[in-house]
Symmetry: C2
């Protein structure tokens, strides 16, 4: 496996010279985790950049009673730990695998040294952090201002926007139980919301496949109008 | 007024050379707004960096029924629009003044050109975006996993951590009505929570002054334990 070629495929390293990627690859560490394994605990002092290579993970917060709120789903190519690697802070959430996953881990100090010589890498980090911040704002809006059907509609539209093939159909990559944790809901309330949307002729579900029948109504629901 | 001296005092420009600040200052635009004025509407296409110079502002999301959720309070020195200035996206929230405020506005294209020659400026942006992302995660946690008293306790602890003088007392810079919009609460529920914390001997309020009487109990409440 050519490590540099593998790093090149990751958005975070887009446009970064092979020479710099070689330096990063030389100190990169690879790790594999089974499904449902905690990779980083909240407040763990980490000083590294992580990138998901295979599998699926999530960043989440949990309450003392064990209630969970997913903040971000992570797929192959997605970095995490960005907001702590250049700081001395503790990790602001917990990271757990949903499926069996592998990650590459680059020491924060090395990343900072290389990045300061390669502004393109700093710019890539800014773009990823910006996207995350916007996603977080959208989640805040959902949790504070929308009911469960509206949150579901927003999530489906966001997922559709990332689907390249069929703009009317999507495959849920996660279980409804995991989806409920993204929507700040319970599996039961999510199930009711899905049934309501199906009854209203807005969508049709079959296993993990969701087909959108009335896009306009879905937009309205997401907007709260 | 020496504009470069003024920019130097802003965290965003910390460590940036006077020569580069001169270039930014030459194209900077100053604007003043009265209290309660919308500065940027959600989805407005902006391509500029804003920094608050005086006053107090907020970033917020609102629902079609007029319910509001504050995402971020902005004070002198705080930038906003960071996550859109290097992108072509629309602004992800609305920005409004709470008090009469003044801002400086630097064109995004100029900022990007200067920043690519001054990695320190890119690093400053990464640090500010990282802090914002962590604040957003804390707000998500509050909204999804905490009741109003727990959210209030978290807010007070966060504010105390930023107070340099007296770690047992703080002056609310905003009205209880504005605070309710940060906590995802109503003024009535916030008022009840404040009364409960006073009854439990955790704090004492007098106008906008809040004195913490039992820090341990406040920590426990914020943690949900």
């Amino acid at each position: 496996m050519d490590i540099v070629q593998q790093l090149k495929k990751i958005d975070l390293f887009h446009g970064v010279s092979s020479e710099k990627l070689q330096i990063l690859a030389a100190q990169a560490i690879y790790k594999k985790y089974p499904a449902q394994e905690m990779v980083i605990g909240e407040t763990d002092p980490i000083k590294a950049f992580y990138v998901v290579l295979t599998g699926r993970m999530k960043l989440y917060k949990s309450s003392p009673e064990g209630k969970e709120q997913t903040i971000q789903l992570l797929e192959p190519g997605d970095p995490f730990g960005l907001c702590t690697a250049f700081a001395t802070d503790a990790f602001p959430a917990s990271a757990m695998t949903i499926e069996e996953s592998s990650v590459v881990l680059i020491p924060g100090a090395l990343m900072e040294t290389v990045a300061m010589q390669e502004p393109k890498l700093l710019l890539n980090i800014i773009q990823i952090l910006s996207r995350r911040l916007k996603d977080s704002m959208a989640l805040i809006e959902s949790l504070a201002l929308k009911e469960i059907p509206g949150r579901l509609a927003s999530f489906l539209l966001h997922s559709l926007a990332q689907t390249k093939e069929n703009p009317e159909q999507l495959e849920l990559a996660i279980t409804q139980r995991e989806l409920a944790k993204i929507l700040g809901s319970t599996p039961e309330a999510l199930s009711r919301a899905l049934r309501k949307l199906a009854d209203d002729g807005i969508l049709q579900t079959s296993g993990r496949t969701i087909r959108i029948l009335n896009r306009r109504a879905l937009d309205d629901l997401a907007e709260g109008t």
